[in-house]
């Protein structure tokens, strides 16, 4: 049986028909064709699939599409400004060599934005701990941690 879902994705109203078991990440990747959100595991461990649901980081592989009905979703595709200017978190990943193969990066960036929002001024140890649910095989995390701390500082400075 199929169900209708409606949600806002990256500022646009979208709708579609899904099965009860359709995962949110499947809806995003296969129905909406937004393939920036990645799938790296099948056990909610890697965080390649992190998106924001109503402004909060979520693993989209661990939510049903139906659970997102009526919600506002932000994926990596919606993070940059309309004119293409990178979000400070994306720019910081670039500045600090926070990615190599790039597969973990969408989830890392979305998680980084969430960490910056929740824990302004978080120290290195805190950021590392907050990344518990995001695995990167390439970078050794050093550039990622530096990027999140740098972007976080810039995002808060911009707000102040």
């Amino acid at each position: 049986m199929e169900y209708n879902v409606q949600m806002t994705v990256n500022g646009k109203a979208v709708s579609g028909k899904v099965e009860a078991r359709t995962l949110l990440v499947q809806f995003i990747r296969e129905h909406l064709r937004l393939t920036g959100t990645h799938v790296g595991c099948d056990t909610t461990q890697c965080g390649c699939c992190v998106i924001h649901v109503d402004g909060v980081a979520m693993k989209s592989c661990t939510m049903l599409a139906l659970q997102a009905d009526g919600k506002s979703i932000l994926t990596i595709e919606g993070l940059a400004a309309a004119d293409g200017a990178l979000h400070p978190m994306q720019q910081a990943f670039r500045d600090h060599h926070g990615l190599q193969c790039g597969f973990c990066t969408p989830g890392m960036v979305m998680m980084g934005v969430d960490i910056a929002r929740r824990l302004p001024g978080a120290d290195e140890k805190t950021v590392r701990h907050q990344l518990e649910g995001n695995i990167c095989r390439c970078t050794g995390y050093q550039g990622i941690v530096e990027a999140i701390m740098d972007a976080s500082a810039k995002m808060h400075a911009a707000k102040a």
């Binding site: 193969c101 950021v127 695995i135 095989r137």
Partner: protein
């Protein structure tokens, strides 16, 4: 349930189940290097002999992108296109075309777009690739297979899985002179592409790993078991070799009552010994092994460690410090095609036989073209990863080779472009080619000048060319070198063990690497950090485990311990750059250094922390459980 042989030790027992009963044994082959009898005699003559028995744990390479293959067949044209993450598609194309599907190679195209991590495992041909391609051709329909993580665990080749028994004989002064290494390699149930040769060719070529030990016997027994095949994983034989040498050196230090740095000092190959031929005939051209180690000791404040140990003890923690020296062999199979092409719009394309999947080739090649030809950095484009456009010779990216073969290829192509460019410029400037100079993108003769862009444009116009010159300024070179290069380094890890939980926390990590000339420090550091993370993963958290029936128990990220951000501290990475003398850029590969240095440095540190318990060694991974158990056992032994 059929009986199974899971470990190489068990598989070699007479009564073990045979993976291939028709062979009557699980021993694939017994390779030897050196003279066994002579080495035995020398060992008997030694002042002291130190021995280690080591398990080099089985690892899942685990690129974050699970394996995937899609294929499409165009029946009218007889063309097959395959999309899959690889480390360079040419080999896959050739195997599909020639060996498996019996098609003309130019009818098979393999495309890799943004491969999500390679680490050796993505350079391989897998059965699913062949099956998907075959199905697409048979059905005339696009076919796609997407492995989930669980499937990737049981079908991607694994890495390491060696058992090493090593003995080293030393003289009165702690100078080693004889080495014997016996290695069992678990190859899995089939022969993978390269797995078999890793201990001997991968590791053996660098043994004794930066130390001068004149006599060496090496025995390698690759063994079939009922497990997933093993093959190249970042380092591919060199981490195993360095690990056993460094455990031997620590053992020797303990036996002689010498500091760990001192036993190494006494045994290093000295700068005056370069070029130095290793036992297997590879020639190390350069290095400053002792100096590199001194830098690591200095930056880790090694000398003042005991005071820090005391501070931790006051908090109930066991602090330890560990040292590892290592040497690598990088730039394997040093042949690669590289093309530099001038586009109509003024861009310059580098069409590379290498394939960047996170190593930053677009950055580094652009930087090089900018440096050599004076072309704007932003105007240089990298084209790679598609056998439809890549050069005829395209071996791909593996074995820390791209800086030397790719960078060297760019250099040679640019040199040829400048030579040809001078001839064209001479004609434009009405001068003689021998009097034309080239610097920063400008050709000059006396007071007049033309730019590289002017010359590239003129090169398209036969009227503007010297007589007999073929149009175009593009160059294609097949880079060849007769040697690889030998990166090396010294790593110091400082850790704390919580004796109540067995948890190891890394407090400080200093890596001093000699990667030769550093083309881009940002990118080389990135490679070092990533390699260290994988080495720390092997040392602390990662382990592929099978039960006695051959069932994979560590088949998801829930039970296979991928290292996370919180497992590390900030890594202090530095260089002691000794330019390689055997390639024009002076580079030494950086990709696999980290995972050679980290495992012995971490194990050395943990054993140092547990010294008061009399613990001399724990096999990797040093998980909280293993460390805690070792502590409990030693308490029981002490009480008894």
């Amino acid at each position: 349930m059929l009986p199974a042989a899971v470990s190489s030790v068990d598989a070699l027992k007479a009564d073990s189940p045979k993976v291939w009963p028709e062979f009557g044994t699980n021993e694939v082959v017994h390779w030897e290097y050196g003279e066994a009898a002579k080495v035995e005699t020398l060992l008997r003559s030694a002042h002291r002999v130190v021995k280690v028995d080591l398990v080099n744990n089985r690892i899942a390479p685990a690129p974050m992108e699970p394996r995937v293959v899609a294929a499409k067949y165009d029946a009218a044209e007889g063309r097959l296109t395959v999309w899959s993450p690889t480390q360079g598609g040419r080999r896959i194309q050739m195997m599909l075309a020639r060996t498996l599907l019996k098609m003309a190679p130019d009818k098979v195209r393999v495309i890799s777009i943004d491969t999500g991590g390679g680490f050796g495992v993505r350079s391989k041909m897998f059965p699913e690739t062949a099956m998907v391609a075959y199905a697409a051709r048979q059905l005339g329909r696009p076919v796609k297979w997407l492995g989930d993580r669980a499937e990737t665990f049981v079908s991607d080749y694994h890495g390491r899985d060696q058992i090493n028994h090593a003995q080293m004989g030393l003289d009165r002064d702690g100078k080693a002179f004889v080495l014997k290494v016996e290695t069992l390699l678990n190859v899995g149930a089939y022969l993978s592409e390269n797995g078999l040769r890793l201990p001997m060719e991968g590791g053996g070529r660098i043994i004794p790993c930066g130390y001068h030990i004149p006599d060496f016997y090496f025995s390698v027994k690759p063994t079939f078991t009922n497990t997933v095949c093993t093959d190249t994983y970042r380092g591919a034989g060199r981490p195993e070799a360095n690990y056993l040498m460094e455990r031997l050196m620590d053992k020797a230090a303990e036996t002689y009552g010498l500091p760990r740095e001192e036993i190494r000092r006494r045994n290093f190959i000295k700068p005056s010994q370069f070029p130095y031929k290793t036992h297997l005939g590879f020639v190390i051209d350069s290095g400053d092994f002792a100096g590199t180690m001194e830098m690591a000791l200095e930056h880790s404040n090694w000398a003042a460690f005991e005071e820090r140990r005391g501070r931790s003890a006051a908090r109930g923690k066991l602090r330890g410090i560990g040292l590892a020296f290592f040497i690598e062999g990088a730039g394997s199979r040093p042949v690669e095609g590289m093309r530099v092409r001038f586009e109509d719009n003024g861009d310059v394309s580098v069409i590379a036989g290498t394939y960047s999947h996170g190593q930053g080739h677009a950055t580094v090649y652009s930087q090089l073209v900018h440096e050599f030809l004076g072309v704007d950095y932003d105007k240089v484009r990298l084209i790679n990863g598609d056998t439809g456009t890549s050069p005829e010779v395209s071996n791909g990216t593996f074995g820390s080779r791209s800086s030397m073969v790719g960078g060297g290829g760019v250099k040679r192509a640019c040199d040829a472009i400048i030579v040809k460019g001078k001839k064209i410029a001479a004609r434009l400037l009405q001068s003689d080619a021998t009097r034309v100079t080239f610097e920063a993108g400008v050709f000059r003769a006396q007071t007049s000048s033309v730019t590289m862009a002017d010359v590239a444009a003129a090169a398209r116009d036969p009227n503007k060319l010297p007589d007999g010159m073929a149009p175009g300024l593009d160059e294609y070179v097949v880079y060849e070198n007769d040697t690889e290069n030998f990166p090396n380094g010294a790593h110091v890890a400082e850790i704390e063990v919580d004796p109540e939980t067995g948890v190891v926390e890394i407090l400080n990590y200093v890596a001093v690497d000699d990667c030769g000339v550093v083309l881009n420090p940002f990118i080389v550091h990135g490679q070092i950090y990533g390699g260290i993370a994988q080495g720390i993963g092997q040392a602390l958290t990662e382990n592929i485990v099978y039960d006695a029936e051959g069932q994979l128990l560590s088949g998801t990220f829930m039970d296979y311990g991928m290292p996370r951000a919180g497992h590390f501290s900030h890594i202090d990475a530095r260089f002691n750059a000794m330019p390689a003398k055997t390639n024009e850029l002076g580079v030494k590969g950086a990709g696999e250094a980290g995972c050679c240095g980290a495992p012995p440095a971490i194990v050395s540190a943990v054993v140092d922390a547990l010294g008061s318990y009399g613990i001399k060694h724990i096999d990797m991974p040093l998980s909280p459980e293993r460390v805690w158990r070792a502590i409990q056992e030693s308490r029981v032994n002490k009480a008894a």
